[in-house]
Point group: C2
Chain length 323, copies 2
Protein backbone atom coordinates (compact mmCIF):
# COMPACT_ATOMS: atom_id res chain seq x y z
CA UNK A 1 0.00 0.00 0.00
CA UNK A 2 2.93 2.27 0.55
CA UNK A 3 4.48 1.60 -2.81
CA UNK A 4 4.14 4.76 -4.89
CA UNK A 5 5.27 2.87 -7.99
CA UNK A 6 1.89 1.91 -9.41
CA UNK A 7 2.11 0.37 -12.87
CA UNK A 8 0.57 2.74 -15.37
CA UNK A 9 1.18 5.70 -13.10
CA UNK A 10 2.45 8.60 -15.15
CA UNK A 11 5.14 10.05 -12.97
CA UNK A 12 8.80 10.28 -12.24
CA UNK A 13 8.90 7.10 -10.17
CA UNK A 14 7.21 5.11 -12.91
CA UNK A 15 9.51 6.71 -15.48
CA UNK A 16 12.55 5.70 -13.45
CA UNK A 17 11.13 2.19 -12.93
CA UNK A 18 10.87 1.81 -16.70
CA UNK A 19 14.33 3.30 -17.21
CA UNK A 20 15.75 0.67 -14.88
CA UNK A 21 14.52 -2.01 -17.32
CA UNK A 22 15.40 0.00 -20.40
CA UNK A 23 18.95 0.68 -19.27
CA UNK A 24 19.71 -2.77 -17.83
CA UNK A 25 22.89 -4.25 -19.36
CA UNK A 26 22.05 -6.58 -22.25
CA UNK A 27 22.44 -10.30 -21.42
CA UNK A 28 25.95 -11.49 -22.11
CA UNK A 29 27.31 -7.94 -22.17
CA UNK A 30 29.54 -6.76 -19.40
CA UNK A 31 28.00 -4.29 -17.01
CA UNK A 32 30.50 -1.44 -16.58
CA UNK A 33 29.79 -1.81 -12.86
CA UNK A 34 31.25 -5.33 -13.02
CA UNK A 35 34.69 -3.86 -13.42
CA UNK A 36 34.27 -2.38 -9.96
CA UNK A 37 34.90 -5.70 -8.29
CA UNK A 38 33.67 -5.69 -4.71
CA UNK A 39 31.99 -2.28 -5.00
CA UNK A 40 29.15 -2.15 -7.52
CA UNK A 41 26.65 0.63 -6.86
CA UNK A 42 23.16 -0.42 -7.94
CA UNK A 43 21.06 1.59 -10.40
CA UNK A 44 19.13 4.35 -8.70
CA UNK A 45 21.51 5.08 -5.84
CA UNK A 46 22.68 8.65 -5.20
CA UNK A 47 25.64 8.32 -7.54
CA UNK A 48 26.93 6.03 -10.26
CA UNK A 49 30.27 4.24 -10.21
CA UNK A 50 32.84 4.64 -12.95
CA UNK A 51 35.31 1.83 -13.51
CA UNK A 52 38.65 2.46 -11.79
CA UNK A 53 41.81 2.17 -13.84
CA UNK A 54 45.38 3.27 -14.21
CA UNK A 55 44.65 5.42 -17.25
CA UNK A 56 43.23 8.92 -16.78
CA UNK A 57 39.51 9.41 -17.18
CA UNK A 58 38.07 12.29 -19.19
CA UNK A 59 34.55 13.58 -19.14
CA UNK A 60 32.42 15.96 -21.15
CA UNK A 61 28.90 17.36 -21.14
CA UNK A 62 26.53 18.72 -23.79
CA UNK A 63 23.12 20.23 -23.28
CA UNK A 64 20.48 20.28 -26.05
CA UNK A 65 17.34 22.40 -26.01
CA UNK A 66 14.09 22.01 -27.91
CA UNK A 67 13.77 24.77 -30.51
CA UNK A 68 17.53 25.38 -30.58
CA UNK A 69 19.34 22.08 -31.12
CA UNK A 70 16.33 20.09 -32.22
CA UNK A 71 12.66 20.67 -32.98
CA UNK A 72 10.32 18.20 -31.31
CA UNK A 73 7.52 19.30 -33.64
CA UNK A 74 9.51 17.79 -36.49
CA UNK A 75 12.05 15.34 -35.08
CA UNK A 76 11.26 12.00 -33.44
CA UNK A 77 12.22 11.75 -29.76
CA UNK A 78 14.36 8.70 -30.47
CA UNK A 79 16.40 10.71 -33.00
CA UNK A 80 16.67 13.60 -30.53
CA UNK A 81 18.02 11.27 -27.83
CA UNK A 82 20.43 9.80 -30.34
CA UNK A 83 21.76 13.27 -31.15
CA UNK A 84 22.15 14.14 -27.45
CA UNK A 85 24.44 11.12 -27.07
CA UNK A 86 26.20 11.52 -30.42
CA UNK A 87 27.36 15.10 -29.78
CA UNK A 88 29.11 13.86 -26.63
CA UNK A 89 30.63 10.90 -28.49
CA UNK A 90 31.85 13.41 -31.07
CA UNK A 91 33.81 15.11 -28.26
CA UNK A 92 35.33 11.71 -27.48
CA UNK A 93 36.27 11.38 -31.16
CA UNK A 94 37.84 14.85 -31.06
CA UNK A 95 40.22 13.62 -28.35
CA UNK A 96 40.57 10.06 -29.72
CA UNK A 97 39.36 8.46 -26.49
CA UNK A 98 37.07 5.51 -25.80
CA UNK A 99 33.69 6.40 -24.25
CA UNK A 100 32.83 4.38 -21.13
CA UNK A 101 29.55 5.47 -19.60
CA UNK A 102 27.00 8.29 -19.67
CA UNK A 103 24.75 10.20 -17.27
CA UNK A 104 21.50 11.64 -18.62
CA UNK A 105 19.77 14.68 -17.04
CA UNK A 106 16.47 15.86 -18.48
CA UNK A 107 13.92 18.60 -17.94
CA UNK A 108 10.96 17.11 -19.77
CA UNK A 109 8.22 19.34 -21.06
CA UNK A 110 4.97 18.43 -19.32
CA UNK A 111 3.45 17.96 -22.78
CA UNK A 112 5.53 14.79 -23.29
CA UNK A 113 3.97 11.36 -22.94
CA UNK A 114 5.74 8.59 -21.06
CA UNK A 115 6.51 6.98 -24.43
CA UNK A 116 8.08 10.20 -25.72
CA UNK A 117 10.31 10.38 -22.66
CA UNK A 118 11.31 6.73 -22.91
CA UNK A 119 12.04 7.12 -26.64
CA UNK A 120 14.32 10.04 -25.84
CA UNK A 121 16.37 8.01 -23.36
CA UNK A 122 16.26 4.89 -25.53
CA UNK A 123 17.64 6.83 -28.51
CA UNK A 124 20.54 8.09 -26.41
CA UNK A 125 21.19 4.74 -24.74
CA UNK A 126 21.14 2.70 -27.96
CA UNK A 127 23.49 5.12 -29.68
CA UNK A 128 25.81 5.01 -26.67
CA UNK A 129 25.75 1.22 -26.46
CA UNK A 130 27.02 0.93 -30.03
CA UNK A 131 30.15 2.72 -28.82
CA UNK A 132 30.46 0.92 -25.48
CA UNK A 133 28.88 3.84 -23.63
CA UNK A 134 25.60 2.91 -21.90
CA UNK A 135 23.59 5.38 -19.82
CA UNK A 136 24.25 4.42 -16.20
CA UNK A 137 22.31 7.06 -14.26
CA UNK A 138 20.93 10.56 -14.30
CA UNK A 139 18.35 13.02 -13.09
CA UNK A 140 14.75 13.34 -14.30
CA UNK A 141 12.72 16.53 -14.01
CA UNK A 142 9.72 18.09 -15.71
CA UNK A 143 8.38 21.58 -16.24
CA UNK A 144 6.06 23.73 -18.38
CA UNK A 145 8.79 24.84 -20.82
CA UNK A 146 10.50 23.12 -23.75
CA UNK A 147 12.49 19.96 -23.10
CA UNK A 148 16.18 20.17 -22.19
CA UNK A 149 18.42 17.11 -22.28
CA UNK A 150 21.98 17.01 -21.03
CA UNK A 151 24.27 14.03 -21.49
CA UNK A 152 27.59 13.67 -19.72
CA UNK A 153 30.09 11.08 -20.94
CA UNK A 154 33.22 9.65 -19.33
CA UNK A 155 35.99 8.25 -21.52
CA UNK A 156 39.51 6.88 -21.39
CA UNK A 157 42.39 6.99 -23.92
CA UNK A 158 43.45 3.67 -25.47
CA UNK A 159 46.37 1.89 -23.76
CA UNK A 160 49.69 3.70 -24.15
CA UNK A 161 48.10 6.68 -25.86
CA UNK A 162 47.35 10.21 -24.81
CA UNK A 163 44.18 12.17 -25.60
CA UNK A 164 44.63 14.39 -28.68
CA UNK A 165 44.39 17.99 -27.56
CA UNK A 166 43.55 21.05 -29.62
CA UNK A 167 46.63 23.12 -28.77
CA UNK A 168 49.38 21.17 -30.51
CA UNK A 169 49.30 22.61 -34.05
CA UNK A 170 52.65 23.92 -35.38
CA UNK A 171 53.50 26.05 -38.42
CA UNK A 172 54.00 23.82 -41.44
CA UNK A 173 51.43 21.23 -40.25
CA UNK A 174 48.73 20.21 -42.70
CA UNK A 175 45.00 20.66 -41.98
CA UNK A 176 42.64 17.81 -42.90
CA UNK A 177 38.96 16.94 -42.53
CA UNK A 178 37.47 13.49 -41.90
CA UNK A 179 34.69 14.26 -44.38
CA UNK A 180 32.95 16.99 -46.40
CA UNK A 181 31.12 19.74 -44.54
CA UNK A 182 28.28 22.27 -44.89
CA UNK A 183 24.51 22.12 -45.05
CA UNK A 184 24.09 19.77 -42.08
CA UNK A 185 20.81 21.53 -41.26
CA UNK A 186 19.23 19.52 -44.10
CA UNK A 187 19.38 16.49 -41.82
CA UNK A 188 22.90 15.37 -40.96
CA UNK A 189 22.96 17.46 -37.76
CA UNK A 190 20.57 14.80 -36.41
CA UNK A 191 21.86 11.64 -38.08
CA UNK A 192 25.65 12.09 -38.16
CA UNK A 193 27.86 9.27 -36.97
CA UNK A 194 30.49 10.31 -34.38
CA UNK A 195 33.96 9.76 -35.87
CA UNK A 196 35.30 7.66 -33.03
CA UNK A 197 36.66 4.81 -35.16
CA UNK A 198 38.39 7.16 -37.58
CA UNK A 199 39.76 9.19 -34.68
CA UNK A 200 41.25 6.13 -33.00
CA UNK A 201 42.86 5.06 -36.28
CA UNK A 202 44.25 8.57 -36.80
CA UNK A 203 45.72 8.70 -33.31
CA UNK A 204 47.22 5.20 -33.77
CA UNK A 205 48.65 5.62 -37.27
CA UNK A 206 49.23 9.33 -37.84
CA UNK A 207 50.29 10.88 -34.51
CA UNK A 208 48.12 14.00 -34.98
CA UNK A 209 49.23 17.29 -33.44
CA UNK A 210 45.68 18.56 -32.79
CA UNK A 211 42.05 17.61 -33.36
CA UNK A 212 38.60 19.12 -32.76
CA UNK A 213 35.09 18.21 -33.88
CA UNK A 214 33.10 20.73 -35.91
CA UNK A 215 30.14 21.79 -33.81
CA UNK A 216 30.10 25.54 -34.41
CA UNK A 217 31.43 25.62 -37.97
CA UNK A 218 34.72 24.86 -39.76
CA UNK A 219 36.06 28.42 -39.54
CA UNK A 220 35.30 28.93 -35.83
CA UNK A 221 36.39 25.47 -34.70
CA UNK A 222 39.56 25.58 -36.79
CA UNK A 223 40.25 28.96 -35.22
CA UNK A 224 39.94 27.33 -31.79
CA UNK A 225 42.78 24.96 -32.71
CA UNK A 226 44.93 27.74 -34.18
CA UNK A 227 44.27 30.21 -31.38
CA UNK A 228 45.03 27.75 -28.59
CA UNK A 229 48.15 26.59 -30.49
CA UNK A 230 49.39 30.18 -30.90
CA UNK A 231 49.45 30.15 -34.71
CA UNK A 232 47.28 30.78 -37.77
CA UNK A 233 46.13 28.97 -40.86
CA UNK A 234 45.56 29.25 -44.57
CA UNK A 235 42.91 27.26 -46.44
CA UNK A 236 43.55 26.44 -50.09
CA UNK A 237 40.55 27.23 -52.29
CA UNK A 238 40.75 24.27 -54.69
CA UNK A 239 41.15 21.64 -51.96
CA UNK A 240 38.53 23.34 -49.80
CA UNK A 241 36.13 23.10 -52.74
CA UNK A 242 36.59 19.32 -52.64
CA UNK A 243 35.53 19.30 -49.00
CA UNK A 244 32.15 20.95 -49.62
CA UNK A 245 29.31 18.53 -48.84
CA UNK A 246 26.55 17.97 -51.47
CA UNK A 247 24.11 19.28 -48.83
CA UNK A 248 25.93 22.63 -48.92
CA UNK A 249 25.23 22.84 -52.66
CA UNK A 250 21.59 21.89 -52.12
CA UNK A 251 21.24 24.57 -49.45
CA UNK A 252 23.01 27.04 -51.72
CA UNK A 253 20.33 26.49 -54.37
CA UNK A 254 17.71 27.41 -51.78
CA UNK A 255 19.32 30.46 -50.16
CA UNK A 256 21.70 31.58 -52.95
CA UNK A 257 24.64 31.80 -50.56
CA UNK A 258 27.82 30.21 -51.99
CA UNK A 259 28.15 26.54 -51.02
CA UNK A 260 31.66 27.18 -49.71
CA UNK A 261 30.20 29.67 -47.22
CA UNK A 262 28.03 26.90 -45.84
CA UNK A 263 31.09 24.67 -45.63
CA UNK A 264 32.98 27.33 -43.68
CA UNK A 265 30.27 28.62 -41.38
CA UNK A 266 27.51 26.03 -40.90
CA UNK A 267 27.57 24.32 -37.52
CA UNK A 268 26.93 20.73 -36.43
CA UNK A 269 28.87 18.86 -39.08
CA UNK A 270 30.64 16.79 -36.44
CA UNK A 271 33.43 15.89 -38.83
CA UNK A 272 36.89 16.24 -37.27
CA UNK A 273 39.48 18.86 -38.11
CA UNK A 274 42.80 17.00 -37.95
CA UNK A 275 46.19 18.70 -37.84
CA UNK A 276 49.00 16.40 -39.00
CA UNK A 277 52.76 16.86 -39.35
CA UNK A 278 53.74 17.60 -42.98
CA UNK A 279 55.34 14.16 -43.34
CA UNK A 280 52.21 12.22 -42.38
CA UNK A 281 52.15 9.07 -44.56
CA UNK A 282 49.92 9.70 -47.58
CA UNK A 283 48.63 6.10 -47.88
CA UNK A 284 47.23 6.18 -44.35
CA UNK A 285 45.58 9.55 -45.01
CA UNK A 286 44.03 8.12 -48.15
CA UNK A 287 42.89 4.93 -46.49
CA UNK A 288 41.14 7.03 -43.82
CA UNK A 289 39.60 9.21 -46.56
CA UNK A 290 41.02 12.39 -45.06
CA UNK A 291 40.47 15.56 -47.11
CA UNK A 292 43.32 18.11 -47.18
CA UNK A 293 42.11 21.71 -46.85
CA UNK A 294 45.08 23.84 -45.83
CA UNK A 295 48.08 24.40 -43.68
CA UNK A 296 49.18 25.93 -40.39
CA UNK A 297 51.16 29.19 -40.58
CA UNK A 298 53.07 31.44 -38.22
CA UNK A 299 50.97 34.60 -38.39
CA UNK A 300 47.92 34.59 -36.12
CA UNK A 301 45.34 34.97 -38.89
CA UNK A 302 42.98 32.78 -40.83
CA UNK A 303 43.12 33.24 -44.61
CA UNK A 304 41.83 31.75 -47.85
CA UNK A 305 44.36 31.33 -50.67
CA UNK A 306 43.36 31.34 -54.33
CA UNK A 307 45.07 29.04 -56.87
CA UNK A 308 47.01 32.15 -57.99
CA UNK A 309 48.46 32.44 -54.49
CA UNK A 310 46.45 35.45 -53.35
CA UNK A 311 45.39 35.42 -49.72
CA UNK A 312 42.33 37.15 -48.28
CA UNK A 313 41.42 37.14 -44.59
CA UNK A 314 38.58 34.83 -43.64
CA UNK A 315 36.13 36.17 -41.04
CA UNK A 316 35.97 33.96 -37.97
CA UNK A 317 32.38 33.45 -37.09
CA UNK A 318 29.99 30.59 -36.55
CA UNK A 319 27.27 29.55 -34.22
CA UNK A 320 27.66 31.37 -30.95
CA UNK A 321 25.24 31.07 -28.03
CA UNK A 322 24.29 33.89 -25.67
CA UNK A 323 24.78 36.71 -28.17
CA UNK B 1 41.27 40.89 -36.82
CA UNK B 2 40.28 37.30 -36.76
CA UNK B 3 39.91 37.12 -33.04
CA UNK B 4 36.22 36.87 -32.24
CA UNK B 5 36.97 37.39 -28.56
CA UNK B 6 36.54 41.14 -28.32
CA UNK B 7 36.65 42.45 -24.75
CA UNK B 8 33.22 43.71 -23.76
CA UNK B 9 31.60 41.55 -26.41
CA UNK B 10 28.49 39.94 -24.98
CA UNK B 11 28.67 36.44 -26.31
CA UNK B 12 29.53 32.88 -25.57
CA UNK B 13 33.19 33.27 -26.45
CA UNK B 14 33.54 36.24 -24.14
CA UNK B 15 31.62 34.36 -21.45
CA UNK B 16 33.99 31.40 -21.77
CA UNK B 17 37.00 33.73 -21.77
CA UNK B 18 35.82 35.16 -18.45
CA UNK B 19 35.07 31.70 -17.10
CA UNK B 20 38.64 30.69 -17.85
CA UNK B 21 39.81 33.38 -15.43
CA UNK B 22 37.02 32.77 -12.95
CA UNK B 23 37.63 29.04 -12.76
CA UNK B 24 41.44 29.15 -12.75
CA UNK B 25 42.89 27.27 -9.76
CA UNK B 26 43.66 29.66 -6.88
CA UNK B 27 47.40 30.36 -6.45
CA UNK B 28 48.97 27.84 -4.13
CA UNK B 29 46.09 25.43 -4.55
CA UNK B 30 46.58 22.22 -6.44
CA UNK B 31 44.96 22.06 -9.83
CA UNK B 32 43.13 18.73 -10.08
CA UNK B 33 44.76 18.41 -13.49
CA UNK B 34 48.15 18.35 -11.76
CA UNK B 35 47.38 14.89 -10.50
CA UNK B 36 47.31 13.75 -14.10
CA UNK B 37 51.07 13.82 -14.37
CA UNK B 38 52.19 13.89 -17.98
CA UNK B 39 48.69 14.35 -19.39
CA UNK B 40 46.95 17.56 -18.35
CA UNK B 41 44.18 18.66 -20.67
CA UNK B 42 43.94 22.45 -20.79
CA UNK B 43 40.74 24.35 -20.00
CA UNK B 44 38.48 24.65 -23.01
CA UNK B 45 39.47 21.47 -24.82
CA UNK B 46 36.77 19.01 -25.94
CA UNK B 47 36.82 17.13 -22.66
CA UNK B 48 38.11 17.51 -19.13
CA UNK B 49 40.48 15.13 -17.37
CA UNK B 50 39.64 13.46 -14.08
CA UNK B 51 42.47 12.39 -11.82
CA UNK B 52 43.31 8.70 -12.21
CA UNK B 53 43.54 6.53 -9.13
CA UNK B 54 43.22 3.06 -7.73
CA UNK B 55 39.94 3.84 -5.95
CA UNK B 56 36.66 3.75 -7.90
CA UNK B 57 35.23 7.01 -9.13
CA UNK B 58 31.58 7.88 -8.73
CA UNK B 59 29.63 10.57 -10.51
CA UNK B 60 26.26 12.22 -10.23
CA UNK B 61 24.21 14.87 -12.00
CA UNK B 62 21.44 17.27 -10.97
CA UNK B 63 19.52 19.66 -13.16
CA UNK B 64 17.83 22.80 -11.76
CA UNK B 65 15.21 24.86 -13.59
CA UNK B 66 14.13 28.45 -13.06
CA UNK B 67 10.59 28.52 -11.69
CA UNK B 68 10.85 24.98 -10.34
CA UNK B 69 13.99 24.63 -8.23
CA UNK B 70 14.68 28.34 -7.87
CA UNK B 71 13.05 31.63 -8.77
CA UNK B 72 15.37 34.09 -10.46
CA UNK B 73 12.87 36.89 -9.80
CA UNK B 74 13.58 36.43 -6.08
CA UNK B 75 16.89 34.60 -5.66
CA UNK B 76 20.33 36.00 -6.46
CA UNK B 77 22.18 34.19 -9.25
CA UNK B 78 25.12 33.51 -6.96
CA UNK B 79 22.81 31.71 -4.52
CA UNK B 80 21.24 29.78 -7.40
CA UNK B 81 24.65 28.62 -8.60
CA UNK B 82 25.56 27.68 -5.05
CA UNK B 83 22.44 25.52 -4.81
CA UNK B 84 23.16 23.82 -8.14
CA UNK B 85 26.52 22.69 -6.75
CA UNK B 86 25.27 21.94 -3.23
CA UNK B 87 22.57 19.48 -4.37
CA UNK B 88 25.29 17.45 -6.10
CA UNK B 89 27.57 17.65 -3.06
CA UNK B 90 24.61 16.42 -1.03
CA UNK B 91 24.60 13.29 -3.21
CA UNK B 92 28.29 12.89 -2.36
CA UNK B 93 27.39 13.19 1.33
CA UNK B 94 24.67 10.57 0.88
CA UNK B 95 27.34 8.08 -0.23
CA UNK B 96 30.07 9.39 2.10
CA UNK B 97 32.47 10.11 -0.76
CA UNK B 98 34.87 12.99 -1.42
CA UNK B 99 33.91 15.27 -4.34
CA UNK B 100 36.73 15.86 -6.83
CA UNK B 101 35.59 17.97 -9.76
CA UNK B 102 32.46 19.30 -11.48
CA UNK B 103 31.18 19.98 -14.98
CA UNK B 104 28.64 22.77 -15.45
CA UNK B 105 26.15 22.81 -18.36
CA UNK B 106 23.80 25.78 -18.70
CA UNK B 107 20.98 26.97 -20.92
CA UNK B 108 20.96 30.64 -20.03
CA UNK B 109 17.85 32.69 -20.58
CA UNK B 110 18.60 35.43 -23.10
CA UNK B 111 17.34 37.92 -20.51
CA UNK B 112 20.46 37.30 -18.39
CA UNK B 113 23.31 39.77 -18.31
CA UNK B 114 26.91 38.63 -18.52
CA UNK B 115 27.23 39.42 -14.80
CA UNK B 116 24.20 37.26 -13.97
CA UNK B 117 25.72 34.37 -15.87
CA UNK B 118 29.12 34.79 -14.22
CA UNK B 119 27.50 35.06 -10.77
CA UNK B 120 25.70 31.78 -11.42
CA UNK B 121 28.93 29.95 -12.25
CA UNK B 122 30.86 31.73 -9.49
CA UNK B 123 28.29 30.67 -6.89
CA UNK B 124 28.61 27.05 -7.98
CA UNK B 125 32.40 27.16 -8.25
CA UNK B 126 32.98 28.82 -4.87
CA UNK B 127 30.69 26.36 -3.13
CA UNK B 128 32.45 23.46 -4.86
CA UNK B 129 35.91 24.77 -3.99
CA UNK B 130 35.10 24.75 -0.29
CA UNK B 131 34.65 20.99 -0.63
CA UNK B 132 37.60 20.39 -2.95
CA UNK B 133 35.35 20.27 -6.01
CA UNK B 134 36.11 23.05 -8.54
CA UNK B 135 34.25 23.40 -11.83
CA UNK B 136 36.65 22.14 -14.47
CA UNK B 137 34.61 22.42 -17.67
CA UNK B 138 31.16 22.43 -19.16
CA UNK B 139 28.83 23.56 -21.92
CA UNK B 140 27.28 27.00 -22.32
CA UNK B 141 24.08 27.64 -24.26
CA UNK B 142 21.36 30.27 -24.34
CA UNK B 143 17.72 30.42 -25.38
CA UNK B 144 14.47 32.35 -25.01
CA UNK B 145 13.13 30.23 -22.13
CA UNK B 146 13.93 30.11 -18.40
CA UNK B 147 17.45 29.21 -17.32
CA UNK B 148 18.44 25.59 -16.76
CA UNK B 149 21.65 24.68 -14.96
CA UNK B 150 23.02 21.16 -14.66
CA UNK B 151 26.03 20.27 -12.54
CA UNK B 152 27.76 16.93 -12.72
CA UNK B 153 30.17 15.93 -9.94
CA UNK B 154 32.77 13.16 -9.76
CA UNK B 155 33.83 11.79 -6.37
CA UNK B 156 35.88 9.08 -4.73
CA UNK B 157 35.47 7.19 -1.43
CA UNK B 158 38.08 7.81 1.26
CA UNK B 159 40.98 5.34 1.41
CA UNK B 160 39.96 1.85 2.51
CA UNK B 161 36.29 2.71 2.58
CA UNK B 162 33.33 1.87 0.36
CA UNK B 163 30.59 4.26 -0.71
CA UNK B 164 27.52 3.97 1.54
CA UNK B 165 24.66 2.64 -0.55
CA UNK B 166 20.95 2.90 0.09
CA UNK B 167 20.12 -0.80 -0.06
CA UNK B 168 21.81 -2.09 3.09
CA UNK B 169 19.14 -1.51 5.77
CA UNK B 170 18.20 -4.58 7.87
CA UNK B 171 15.32 -5.22 10.26
CA UNK B 172 16.29 -4.03 13.73
CA UNK B 173 18.47 -1.19 12.42
CA UNK B 174 17.85 2.28 13.82
CA UNK B 175 16.88 5.25 11.61
CA UNK B 176 18.55 8.62 12.30
CA UNK B 177 18.63 12.11 10.82
CA UNK B 178 21.64 14.44 10.63
CA UNK B 179 19.37 17.36 11.53
CA UNK B 180 15.77 18.56 11.87
CA UNK B 181 13.61 18.71 8.75
CA UNK B 182 10.58 20.47 7.24
CA UNK B 183 9.79 23.96 5.98
CA UNK B 184 12.95 24.29 3.87
CA UNK B 185 10.96 26.38 1.38
CA UNK B 186 11.32 29.29 3.85
CA UNK B 187 14.94 29.56 2.73
CA UNK B 188 17.05 26.55 3.67
CA UNK B 189 16.44 24.87 0.29
CA UNK B 190 18.78 27.54 -1.07
CA UNK B 191 21.27 27.94 1.77
CA UNK B 192 21.69 24.42 3.18
CA UNK B 193 25.16 23.08 3.78
CA UNK B 194 25.82 19.64 2.23
CA UNK B 195 26.50 17.14 5.05
CA UNK B 196 29.79 15.86 3.65
CA UNK B 197 31.83 16.23 6.83
CA UNK B 198 29.18 14.56 8.97
CA UNK B 199 28.78 11.82 6.38
CA UNK B 200 32.51 11.07 6.34
CA UNK B 201 32.57 10.93 10.15
CA UNK B 202 29.54 8.62 10.16
CA UNK B 203 31.09 6.27 7.62
CA UNK B 204 34.37 6.28 9.59
CA UNK B 205 32.99 5.85 13.11
CA UNK B 206 29.59 4.21 12.78
CA UNK B 207 29.69 1.78 9.84
CA UNK B 208 26.24 2.79 8.54
CA UNK B 209 24.14 0.21 6.70
CA UNK B 210 22.45 2.76 4.40
CA UNK B 211 22.26 6.50 3.76
CA UNK B 212 20.35 8.89 1.49
CA UNK B 213 19.95 12.65 1.36
CA UNK B 214 16.48 14.14 1.67
CA UNK B 215 15.69 15.83 -1.62
CA UNK B 216 12.09 14.74 -2.17
CA UNK B 217 10.93 14.53 1.46
CA UNK B 218 11.67 12.36 4.50
CA UNK B 219 8.86 9.87 3.84
CA UNK B 220 9.66 9.33 0.15
CA UNK B 221 13.44 9.22 0.53
CA UNK B 222 13.25 6.94 3.57
CA UNK B 223 10.98 4.72 1.53
CA UNK B 224 13.67 4.58 -1.16
CA UNK B 225 16.08 3.12 1.41
CA UNK B 226 13.52 0.66 2.76
CA UNK B 227 12.23 -0.41 -0.64
CA UNK B 228 15.68 -1.03 -2.12
CA UNK B 229 16.68 -2.87 1.09
CA UNK B 230 13.60 -5.08 0.93
CA UNK B 231 12.18 -4.06 4.30
CA UNK B 232 9.94 -1.48 5.98
CA UNK B 233 10.13 1.08 8.74
CA UNK B 234 8.32 2.52 11.70
CA UNK B 235 8.80 6.11 12.89
CA UNK B 236 8.27 6.85 16.59
CA UNK B 237 6.05 9.89 17.14
CA UNK B 238 7.84 11.42 20.15
CA UNK B 239 11.30 11.19 18.64
CA UNK B 240 10.05 12.33 15.24
CA UNK B 241 8.59 15.40 16.96
CA UNK B 242 12.11 16.28 18.11
CA UNK B 243 13.29 16.19 14.49
CA UNK B 244 10.81 18.81 13.27
CA UNK B 245 12.63 21.96 12.18
CA UNK B 246 11.51 25.35 13.57
CA UNK B 247 10.80 26.35 9.95
CA UNK B 248 8.19 23.59 9.78
CA UNK B 249 6.40 25.19 12.75
CA UNK B 250 6.66 28.62 11.13
CA UNK B 251 5.20 27.27 7.91
CA UNK B 252 2.50 25.48 9.90
CA UNK B 253 1.37 28.82 11.35
CA UNK B 254 0.97 30.10 7.79
CA UNK B 255 -0.79 27.17 6.15
CA UNK B 256 -2.32 25.43 9.20
CA UNK B 257 -0.96 22.05 8.17
CA UNK B 258 0.63 20.16 11.10
CA UNK B 259 4.37 20.84 11.39
CA UNK B 260 5.09 17.11 11.42
CA UNK B 261 3.47 16.85 7.97
CA UNK B 262 6.00 19.37 6.70
CA UNK B 263 8.77 17.33 8.31
CA UNK B 264 7.55 14.18 6.58
CA UNK B 265 6.67 15.51 3.17
CA UNK B 266 8.55 18.74 2.39
CA UNK B 267 11.40 18.31 -0.08
CA UNK B 268 14.90 19.80 -0.26
CA UNK B 269 15.98 19.48 3.36
CA UNK B 270 19.26 17.85 2.29
CA UNK B 271 19.77 16.33 5.71
CA UNK B 272 20.82 12.69 5.59
CA UNK B 273 18.74 9.70 6.59
CA UNK B 274 21.21 7.33 8.26
CA UNK B 275 20.49 3.68 9.00
CA UNK B 276 22.74 2.29 11.74
CA UNK B 277 23.03 -1.11 13.37
CA UNK B 278 21.20 -1.23 16.75
CA UNK B 279 24.51 -1.37 18.64
CA UNK B 280 25.92 1.82 17.11
CA UNK B 281 27.87 3.59 19.89
CA UNK B 282 25.65 6.22 21.49
CA UNK B 283 28.48 8.70 22.30
CA UNK B 284 29.45 8.93 18.62
CA UNK B 285 25.81 9.43 17.61
CA UNK B 286 25.51 12.19 20.18
CA UNK B 287 28.77 13.85 19.17
CA UNK B 288 27.53 13.92 15.56
CA UNK B 289 24.17 15.33 16.76
CA UNK B 290 22.21 12.53 15.09
CA UNK B 291 18.48 12.53 15.81
CA UNK B 292 16.80 9.11 16.27
CA UNK B 293 13.44 8.85 14.50
CA UNK B 294 12.58 5.18 14.15
CA UNK B 295 13.57 1.67 13.27
CA UNK B 296 13.70 -0.75 10.37
CA UNK B 297 11.16 -3.59 10.38
CA UNK B 298 10.49 -6.76 8.45
CA UNK B 299 7.11 -5.90 6.89
CA UNK B 300 7.31 -3.82 3.70
CA UNK B 301 5.31 -0.87 5.05
CA UNK B 302 6.02 2.56 6.44
CA UNK B 303 4.18 3.35 9.69
CA UNK B 304 3.98 5.93 12.47
CA UNK B 305 3.85 4.61 16.04
CA UNK B 306 2.20 6.55 18.87
CA UNK B 307 3.69 6.52 22.40
CA UNK B 308 0.91 4.04 23.26
CA UNK B 309 2.31 1.65 20.65
CA UNK B 310 -0.41 2.10 18.05
CA UNK B 311 0.78 2.02 14.44
CA UNK B 312 -0.89 3.74 11.53
CA UNK B 313 0.32 3.52 7.93
CA UNK B 314 2.12 6.57 6.62
CA UNK B 315 1.37 7.56 3.01
CA UNK B 316 4.50 7.60 0.87
CA UNK B 317 4.48 10.73 -1.16
CA UNK B 318 6.73 13.70 -1.75
CA UNK B 319 7.94 15.87 -4.56
CA UNK B 320 7.63 13.97 -7.79
CA UNK B 321 8.49 15.38 -11.21
CA UNK B 322 6.65 14.61 -14.44
CA UNK B 323 3.28 13.87 -12.80
Amino acid sequence: MNDPITPGHRGELEFIRRLRTLLAPAPGRADPADALGPMPVPFGDDMVALPPGDRPLLWTVDMLMDGVDFDSAVHAWHAIGRKAMAVNLSDCAAMAVLPLAALCAVSLSNTLTMDNALDLVRGAHECGQRYGCPITGGDTNSWDHPTVVSLSVAARPPHDRQPVRRDGARPGDRIWLTGPVGGSILGRHLTFEPRIETALAISRDLRPHAMIDISDGLALDLWRILDSSGCGGVLHEPTLDHAVHPDAFRLSQQDHRPAVEHALYDGEDFELIVVLPPDAPAPACERLKLLPIGQVIDEPTLALETPAGQRRPLPVRGWEHFR
